[in-house]
């Protein structure tokens, strides 16, 4: 089992760092799944995570100049690692002007991701900073725990408002309440609501647009025949929503959410080179 990768392009490095920063804001520890073509950041919906789960995938070719991976076995050519994304973020944070960044899986005293940053210096040789980040190797028998979640059978699918606006609204609401209700309908309307003993606040968005989903067997989802004005919504932990929004430093190309009434809200944020799905379950 081996893994070696190298980034030379600064723009790719910055982009990759931003993605790691986003992941670090959503999860203290998460799973990194490596395949020949892609990297996945996975958070499964265990109780420890408050029931939220995440699936983020990106194509390695868009970021790495060199990428070599050998999985645990020929027929299972993948690697699953458990790691603390904040550590990787710290390692990349000071690599803004690096000549190259190499990442390697090593096993000196324990399995580690070694991030080696080659920095320019005034002397003849470059400055090298290495960060040894301990990781846990996930054995094959546990890989099933980390399968890609399927898109839930949603009631309403709607595009999100401009994330910056949504973020500032949610941040202010967070001061007043621990829970927030997101509801939306198929007419492009969304409400963000909080309610406490003293105050209730609702922010209304309209003309957001509803994405069209082509389903596999040609017929429409359960949204078919649904009253266009009728709202579907769920009450979720506001902190989770705020973390998701705060982690977005760049505006996604597409941002939408699928709402299963009173059950779960499935957020999909698509950028050119990376897609992020985040599931926040409804509070019982």
């Amino acid at each position: 089992m081996r893994f070696r990768a190298k980034i030379v392009d600064l723009a790719c490095l910055n982009h990759f760092s931003r993605i790691i920063n986003t992941i670090a804001k959503l999860a203290k520890t998460c799973i990194l799944r490596l395949t020949v073509c892609k990297l996945y950041f996975i958070l499964s919906d265990k109780v420890a995570n408050g029931g939220a789960s995440m699936w983020c995938e990106l194509s390695q070719g868009n970021f790495f100049d060199e990428f070599q991976m050998e999985g645990v076995a020929a027929e299972h050519n993948e690697i699953y690692l458990e790691f603390v994304p904040e550590n990787v973020w710290r390692a990349l944070k000071t690599a803004q002007s690096a000549k190259a960044v190499k990442i390697k899986l090593t096993n000196k005293h324990c399995p580690c991701l070694r991030v080696a940053v080659e920095l320019p210096s005034l002397s003849s040789s470059s400055r090298v900073v290495t960060h040894d980040i301990p990781v846990g190797v996930i054995p094959r028998r546990m890989w099933n725990d980390f399968r890609e979640p399927s898109v839930p059978d949603f009631d309403v699918s709607i595009y999100l408002p401009v994330l910056k606006t949504m973020k500032s609204v949610v941040e202010r609401m967070k001061n007043l309440s621990n829970f927030i209700v997101i509801e939306a309908n198929l007419s492009g309307e969304m409400n963000l609501k909080i309610e406490t003993d003293l105050v209730s606040v609702t922010t209304h968005f309209k003309d957001l647009g509803n994405p069209l989903w082509a389903s596999e067997d040609g017929c429409q989802s359960s949204a078919q025949g649904r009253d266009l004005e009728s709202m579907a919504g769920a009450c979720i932990d506001i902190k989770k929503l705020q973390q998701l929004l705060a982690g977005q430093q760049v505006n996604p190309t597409k941002a939408l959410c699928n709402i299963v009434h009173k059950r779960i809200i499935h957020f999909i944020l698509l950028h050119e080179e990376v897609s992020l799905q985040y599931f926040i379950p409804a509070i019982a």
């Binding site: 458990e82 899986l105 080696a116 210096s121 002397s123 003849s124 290495t130 960060h131 301990p134 846990g136």
Partner: protein, 357 residues
């Protein structure tokens, strides 16, 4: 100086005004000596045959409060007068500002003994001199909350900086960062090969930002682990010394040699195991374990230290001062002459922590 201690010691001498501070665990000491030429007027007072020049200490916060906002001070203050009034028990700081405004601050002071750590840069086996910017760029790779760092010399003349991992911390859970600097990045390098010292980063960062701001090169004098490390800055009108205790090897070498107890820090090499086949084989054969990998959950950073260190955190201090039990205090004696002590074996006598655990 405020990064080191809560009290500012003022010692006027014939060779200038010395401002000093020491931290509570007596493991960090700093002295700034401003030559008479630094001032428009400098009168240290007169010392009689029986009396020494007057010295005192004031609360750091009170003193800093007078000079609170540097940018506005620079714009509005023309002159600053410092006057010691022993009989009134006041240190007077008078700011003469524009438009005829004079602000006078009367600070209470306490008389004190001379504060002098025992150290001798001449007796240090190793010396490094570097522009402040180089060291600032090096230190930036370590997290702001990192307590201790190990400075070492490796093969090929390379100098390394590595975060120090506490013995109590599990090596399989702690991130290790190491930086290598080439010899030619320094202004001068005269080091004993294979040497290393571990010291506290917090106080050093304070000096580093001062050095960067004043664009002065920093010299590091060090010797064996356990002997203090001395950082100096020199200028025509200013002499700065920062003395930090270093981790003694006795405590660190009893642990596994893989972290910081080694005397030889290897230069970065690629030839260690990056093939985890054997590791995987070992893992797959150990059936019946409900948790898979060795450490399924990681704490966010260095794990919470053992109970002894919780006291430090309750004080509200940033974990920058070294653990009391590990770092020996610097020796503070009553020294007759300022600056260098005599050639006596005072270096051998390091005051032990009285509250060691």
């Amino acid at each position: 100086l405020s990064r080191i201690g809560d009290e500012l010691y003022l010692e006027p001498t014939e060779s200038g005004l010395s401002l000093r501070a020491v931290n509570s665990s007596r493991s960090a000491f700093a002295a700034f000596l401003f030559a008479p030429l630094f001032f428009q007027l400098y009168e240290p007072g007169s010392a009689g045959p029986d009396t020494e020049l007057f010295r005192c200490k004031v609360h750091m916060k009170s003193f800093l409060g007078v000079f609170r906002s540097l940018p506005s001070l620079e714009k509005s203050v023309g002159k600053c007068l410092m006057l010691l009034k022993p009989r009134a028990s006041r240190l007077v700081l008078q700011l003469h500002c524009k438009h005829g405004v004079t602000k006078t601050h009367n600070l209470a002071f306490q008389e004190c003994e001379r504060l002098q750590a025992v150290f001798d840069t001449q007796r240090c086996a190793s010396r490094l001199c570097a522009p402040a910017r180089l060291l600032a760029e090096a230190v930036v790779h370590f997290p702001p909350t990192l307590a201790e760092v190990t400075l070492g010399t490796g093969t090929g003349g390379k100098i390394s900086l590595r975060n120090y991992v506490e013995d109590e911390a599990e090596p399989s859970k702690t991130m290790v960062t190491e930086l290598w600097l080439a010899e030619d990045e320094f202004q001068s390098v005269a080091v004993a090969p294979g040497s290393h010292i571990t010291f506290c980063l917090k106080e050093f960062r304070g000096l580093l930002s001062f050095a960067e701001a004043s664009n002065l090169p920093l010299t590091i004098h060090f010797d064996e682990p356990g002997r203090p490390v001395i950082f100096t800055l020199d200028d025509t009108v200013l002499e700065v010394h920062l003395v930090l205790a270093t981790l003694s090897d006795l405590e660190s070498s009893s642990q596994s040699p893989s972290t910081n107890g080694v005397s030889h820090l290897p230069a970065p090499s690629d030839d260690f195991a990056d093939d985890l086949e054997s590791y995987m084989a070992a893992m797959e054969t150990s059936e019946g374990r409900s948790e898979g990998p060795p450490s399924p959950t990681f704490p966010l950073r260095t794990p919470q230290p053992a109970k002894e260190e919780e006291e430090e955190e309750e004080e509200g201090a940033v974990p920058g001062t070294p653990p009391h039990k590990k770092f020996r205090s610097l020796f503070f004696g009553s020294v007759m002459t300022p600056g260098r002590p005599g050639p006596a074996t005072t270096q051998e006598v390091l005051a032990e922590d009285s509250d060691g655990e």
